[in-house]
Amino acid sequence: MELLQYILVAVVVLVALGWLFRKSLFPSKKTSGCGDGNCGCH
């Protein structure tokens, strides 16, 4: 049971790290987002 819990923790932490890594290194390419002054959100 404890092994399963460790596996689940490892999965969650890896997903969190992987997601942050992907977010920072490969940001989404949508041009309509904020940051270009022409994003239509302000």
Binding site: E2, L4, Q5, V9, V12, V13, A16, L20, G35, C41
Partner: protein, 703 residues
């Protein structure tokens, strides 16, 4: 049977176009006082004289010919397609006397299509009440067109308009703005390739592909899409469109300076009366200050009730998970990482909802434009917008809704500067740190019989935060290589009661945007911080319980005291503990030890965590301020001896927290709002460097 001509009624939404259509055709169309009432073509017949009838087409409202929606594209399609049965012999552009500047943009575009055009200035019955005078003759000369004053509502000037339409053959089909100045070389090539076509029509065909795409147009223009003229990149074409708008507004500004005069002192309408008070040099600022106070109160005070409920709910959920789920690391992750992480997201919702409720009401009512008018000239000196005042003030409650509130700042540079400097303002999360340090190192004595030294220090810290924000804005304005928009068109909208639905949608959208955007980042960082704080390597961590029990075996500690000592031992030897110890050489010159180092690292999650972390490290086991304060007071500097929290190290800590970007949620929302990690990274680095050197200087001078 007499001759029939096509007349298109074109104009911005809400200019009274449909009312005029009803006057001309006698049809009973639905008329509403909100933009977008006309969503499709409406047709009717108007008898101009015995031999001439007009087939009147009421086209959907549009702000310009650079359209992006289906109903707006109907207008462009009609005006570009000469083969269409609806192609107008006369275009009647309807404008509103109170919004001439905005309305004339569309007029100049239609005029440049070389279609015979009449400019109708509607709601002319308001001119006297609003003390507006217009030199019609000069306007006709400057615009090369017929100008007719009309009040569709009161049936004034409609016969003059019918007469002007019937004399359509006298109308000049010459452009009024030379749009080709935005890129003479490009337009010259275009002119040479299609000498028979209207140059502006060609330009619109090319740009419509960028704006909208599938528009039915003349066959002879179809090849443009595949020709070399369309090869300019989408962003280049967009830039050219922006330049075109600038050129048009320059023309309109220059025209209105000559022909339009508004003597506000003579105006008698409610809007002008309200403006006289709300834009007054003294009352205007006073009223704005009271409104800001109300917003501040809502975010700071009213939201504490739902925030407390959320806090209690998540604390109970965490405790339930800990006791009900099978023991193990995953249960710890759920109860100490995921649930508190979720709580850390949801807890901001009341503040965000309150702030945007007020902002939406201010925007909807028309008051926000007055705020910009009031504050713009002051804030512009520091590179900020008049609208930056709302984020800066709400930042004193919390930087997260404040950063989101920058969305209504139109200019990107002003918006970015506001986003970057808002975290300097003293948010409520700094208060627990300030209060405990001030109580430790500032004597509780009266100053000039009325003031208290500790209170004055707190006030100075608030002023310091605001001053740092303004000064940084000024510096950023000088160094950021971003061009500001070359023009700024500001129109005061009419006052109106906010629509509940619109306000609700705004609040819902902003909350959703925070939860789904920044929330995910906060959650991921919470999981990682949990891992760092609750895991470690080595015997000191894994055998913490045995070590502590052995160490304190002779002291007969209670179970609670023992649990606190174990938690302290584990935190000290956790990954975050090693990081805290690792940064000790860097923080020692600021007057801190490794324990404060750990508290600084862990308070990256949120500043207020600083106090809780110290409570764990000092094995206090309680967040009660007095207990922690007493423990901190007793702490001895391991190197110099004497109290660790003295005047020098206390001021150093206060300055560190005043300037440092110790808030992952703010960084997450800055990432979300700027769509890049670049700006939060720059913000974090710059604020940490400033905080470090301010704290260093303070400690080295005062020690």
């Amino acid at each position: 049977m007499g001759k029939s001509i096509n007349v298109s009624l074109i104009g911005n939404p809400n200019t009274g176009k449909t009312s005029l259509f009803n006057r001309l055709t006698g049809l009973n169309q639905k008329v509403g006082n909100y933009p977008g009432i006309t969503v499709e073509k409406k047709e009717g017949i108007c008898k101009l004289d015995r031999s001439l009838k007009a087939h009147i087409l009421d086209l959907p409202g549009t702000y310009s010919l650079n359209t992006s929606s289906l109903d707006e594209s109907v207008v462009v399609e009609t005006l570009l397609n000469k083969n269409s049965k609806d192609y107008p012999d006369v275009a009647v552009v309807v404008s509103d006397i109170e919004n001439l500047k905005r309305n004339l943009l569309l007029f100049t575009q239609i005029k440049d299509l070389e279609i015979p055009t009449i400019l109708v200035i509607n709601m002319a019955d308001r001119m006297q009440r609003k003390a507006i005078s217009l030199d019609i003759e000069l306007m006709e000369q400057e615009l090369n067109t017929r100008v007719v004053l009309v009040s569709a509502r009161k049936n004034i000037g409609v016969d003059d308009l019918k007469k002007a339409i019937s004399e359509y053959k006298n109308l000049k089909s010459v452009p009024c703005v030379n749009a080709s100045t935005i890129d003479p070389e490009y337009f010259e090539t275009l002119r040479k390739a299609y000498p028979k076509q209207s140059i502006y029509k060609l330009w619109l065909v090319i740009t419509q592909d960028v704006n909208f795409g599938k528009i039915d147009r003349n066959r002879d223009l179809e090849d443009l899409k595949s020709s070399s003229f369309a090869v300019k990149s989408e962003s280049d074409l967009k830039k050219m469109q922006h330049k075109e708008t600038v050129v048009r507004y320059q023309f309109i500004n220059s025209l209105l300076t000559k022909v339009l005069n508004v003597d506000k002192s003579q105006a008698k309408d409610l809007r002008t009366r309200l403006d006289r008070v709300l834009l007054h040099k003294v009352w205007g600022y006073l009223i704005f200050f009271v409104i800001l106070l109300l917003i501040f109160q809502a975010i700071y005070d009213w939201s504490t009730y739902p925030m407390d409920w959320i806090d209690t709910f998540f604390a109970k959920a965490s405790s339930w998970a800990q006791t009900s789920l099978p023991e193990g690391p995953f249960t710890d992750l759920i109860s100490e990482g995921i649930i508190p992480g979720l709580g850390g997201i949801v807890i901001f919702i009341p503040q965000i909802a309150f702030l945007f409720l007020f902002i939406a009401i201010l925007e909807e009512s028309g008051y926000m434009s007055r705020v910009v008018f009031l504050m713009d000239h002051i804030m512009k000196k520091f590179g900020l917008s008049g609208k930056s005042v709302v984020p800066l003030v709400s930042g004193t409650a919390c930087a997260i809704p404040a950063v989101m509130a920058t969305r209504n700042i139109e200019d990107w540079k002003e918006r970015l500067i506001t986003i970057l400097v808002v975290p300097f303002t003293t948010c409520s999360a700094r208060l627990p740190v300030y209060l405990i340090i001030i109580a430790l190192v500032i004597p509780e004595q009266e100053v000039w019989w009325i003031f208290n030294m500790q209170g004055l220090t707190l006030m100075l810290l608030y002023m310091l935060g605001f001053g740092a924000a303004i000064f940084s804005a000024w510096v950023l304005n000088k160094i950021l290589p971003i061009k500001r928009k070359a023009f700024f068109v500001m129109e005061m909208p009419a006052y109106k009661l906010p629509m509940l639905k619109n306000v609700g949608i705004t609040v819902l959208e902003k909350t959703k945007s925070f939860v789904l955007g920044a929330g995910k980042i906060i959650m991921a960082i919470s999981v990682i911080l949990w891992l760092l704080a609750s895991h470690g390597i080595g015997e000191q961590f894994t055998n913490a319980e045995e070590i502590v029990k052995e160490q304190y075996a002779s002291q007969n500690l209670s179970e609670e005291e023992l649990t606190n000592k174990i938690a302290s031992q584990q935190l000290e030897h956790s990954f975050i503990g090693y990081i805290g110890k690792g940064i000790e050489p860097a923080v020692r010159p600021l007057g801190y030890d490794w324990k404060i180092g750990i508290a600084i690292v862990s308070s990256f999650a949120a500043r207020e965590v600083f106090v809780g972390t110290l409570a764990t490290i000092y094995s206090v086991g309680s967040d009660e301020e007095e207990t922690i304060k007493n423990r901190m007071r007793a702490e001895v500097n391991p190197i110099l001896g004497g109290p660790l929290f003295n005047f020098a190290s206390g001021i150093s800590l206060l300055l560190f927290y005043a300037f440092a970007m110790q808030c992952m949620s703010t960084l997450a929302i800055v990432k979300r709002e700027t769509n890049s990690w670049k700006w939060p990274a720059i913000q974090f680095t710059a604020m940490t460097v400033i905080a470090y050197f301010a704290a260093l200087a303070a400690y080295q001078i005062l020690k």
